[in-house]
């Protein structure tokens, strides 16, 4: 079967060059005579890899020395559960901006260990807009202010200057748009991202944390749930997900070689513009209701004017080698996820398909 064009929201398309390299060195990585997944994380070859990947992450994202870089097992949801345990005292406020499904998940996971407070919510607008900043209700004593930089289900992406972090440390879930454009990391006390969208495979989460936050006492918890301990041990407090770390490293190196976040901002802008144009110019055949200024460049949900066509669209697109286009059940319709590893030409193929489908079914 030839390679398909994969528009899945995550796990998602990986760079073909990365997969070919991983394939080539599956039985002999760097002359060790073993797969990287077989080697001790405390041996010299893997320790060297870990150091290289951290350097590359710092280069790609422009991480300042004030911030530690952590590679954590599991996904972003676990990070959300551990945020208050690491950074808040019980009954302290923590502020959450609710811009979609994933912001709600972050608050739900944090709520058992902190007084989670909704700063503002766009749920009444079905998460199609940014909550009006003049209406935000901030807690003066909040342990942190949590935002979701991109909502994969609702297709809403926050501007990078959403908050300056002066009222409370700004913490952002960047799972689905990390490295998609240049960002000023110094604005954030912490950003985190499950790798399975823009960084690699699932099973590893990148966390970038300002070091002063790691000194907070937090709440009673096990050492393995304590990020300061992970930071002190170079993310090897226990056996890390080594193959995932390796593949993340290959993806980060690939992004640097492709031109870095500036180049991906250009490509992602071009890709998103093509799809939104195909929607907006369809005379209502396709529809996306998100306010233009916060439309996501990464995940574009759209509905067909007649939901009876959904199954036809999915069957025909799959037959044409385009997969992962089914929308999340919360919003229905379709969704095209256009992460860094999705080439511009792949999106052109999608847009051509959308226009052809509309001609045949319009």
């Amino acid at each position: 079967m030839p390679r398909v064009l994969n528009f899945s929201a995550g796990p998602a398309v990986l760079p073909e060059a990365v997969l070919r390299q991983a394939q080539a060195e599956m039985l002999d990585w760097r002359g060790t005579g073993a797969c990287v997944a077989e080697l001790s994380h405390r041996g010299a070859p893997f320790m060297a890899l870990a150091a290289e990947v951290e350097t590359d992450v710092r280069t790609l994202l422009g991480v300042p020395d004030t911030h530690a870089v952590l590679f954590l097992a599991g996904g972003a949801t676990t990070v959300q559960a551990l945020l208050p345990l690491n950074f808040a005292v019980r009954d302290q406020h923590a502020d959450y901006l609710v811009t979609g499904h994933w912001a709600k998940v972050a608050m739900k996971q944090g709520a058992p260990a902190v007084d989670a407070h909704v700063v503002a919510s766009s749920e009444a607008q079905r998460f199609t807009a940014m909550p009006d900043k003049s209406q935000w209700q901030r807690s003066p004593d909040a342990a942190y202010f949590h935002v979701t930089a991109n909502e994969t289900i609702h297709g809403v992406e926050l501007p990078d200057d959403i908050d300056d972090g002066t009222i409370a440390p700004l913490i952002a879930d960047f799972s689905s748009n990390i490295a998609s454009r240049p960002s000023d990391i110094s604005r954030y006390a912490m950003i985190y991202a499950g790798a399975q969208k823009n960084l690699g495979p699932s099973g590893i989460t990148l966390a970038i944390v300002r070091r002063d936050l790691l000194e907070r006492r937090g709440q009673p918890r096990a050492d393995i749930l304590t990020w300061a301990s992970h930071a002190a041990q170079g993310s090897m407090l226990n056996t890390p997900p080594t193959w995932n770390w390796y593949l993340l490293g290959l993806c980060v190196r690939w992004m640097i070689e492709q031109g870095g976040t500036g180049e991906f901002a250009r490509r992602n802008g071009e890709k998103a513009a093509m799809v939104y144009a195909a929607i907006d110019d369809s005379k209502g055949f396709y529809r996306n209701d998100v306010v233009t200024s916060v439309r996501s460049r990464m995940n574009i949900p759209f509905v067909l004017h007649d939901a009876a066509l959904d199954a036809v669209f999915l069957a025909e697109s799959q037959a044409a080698g385009l997969i992962g286009l089914k929308g999340h059940k919360a919003v229905g319709g379709m969704r095209a996820s256009l992460y860094n590893a999705m080439p511009v030409d792949g999106v052109r193929t999608l847009v051509d398909f959308m226009q052809d489908f509309r001609k045949r079914h319009g």
Copy 2:
């Protein structure tokens, strides 16, 4: 570089047939036109895989219907931190049998959330023996009784009939000897195992839990830290480590095809007997102090009669294509880990090397 013989304690050697299959299908898994790591965990192909792997795990290990099978992100240490949160009320006793380094880690991770109680410890014997059962001090009200089925650092393996679970539910860390011989899972309320020794790559942990334990209320915690929620969602409460799950599945299938746990018990017995004979017949050149009845079949630590030879042994063994033999710093010397994927012939090569080394340096 030809394939080395990898005696690492974990991450550890994987079956070559598994690596070759993963290599072959890296860009096109099961005709999907994608790597398994690129596919949505909620799509039909991965959902089918997940169901197959659970069936195969149940077949390989003989898991009764009374027990749920969970595939969790991260490692065994996180499981240890979550045990009291899921199964105990705060200030309740939890009993721990302390037979080595990893038993101590399990207790340390649990201690912030439970009154962790030492039933018995062999630390005074430098963890070379089993704590005398007549001296055990059990708590009548313990939430559970935790044992470490195999100690990778100290080379101590518990007999399968260590406890019948009648005083408190028996929970065992099987990270380093799962599937190494037939075990009666029904004895255990829960067993868990980081995959990176006998099951696959790091980054995923298998947990087998009696369903009645999942009904315990435990302590306030986030949904993502709650195993009942994972069980209710087929281990897809959030995005699981899909590639790790896939590779674990390939390893489990390989173990079934090789003849299952009975066959591995035979091979592992033969492998361990060869190495212990090389040690015990060396007239003190090599030494292992563990009491014979609890000597591990998986991890065999040994010291050389002259520690000045350690560096020579490591350099020469590495030159001969034998890697991962350096002992843990807590006990020094050497360690040979002989997991299921290490062939009998590989161990024969190690033993030949040990005997030759002794002749040349004895």
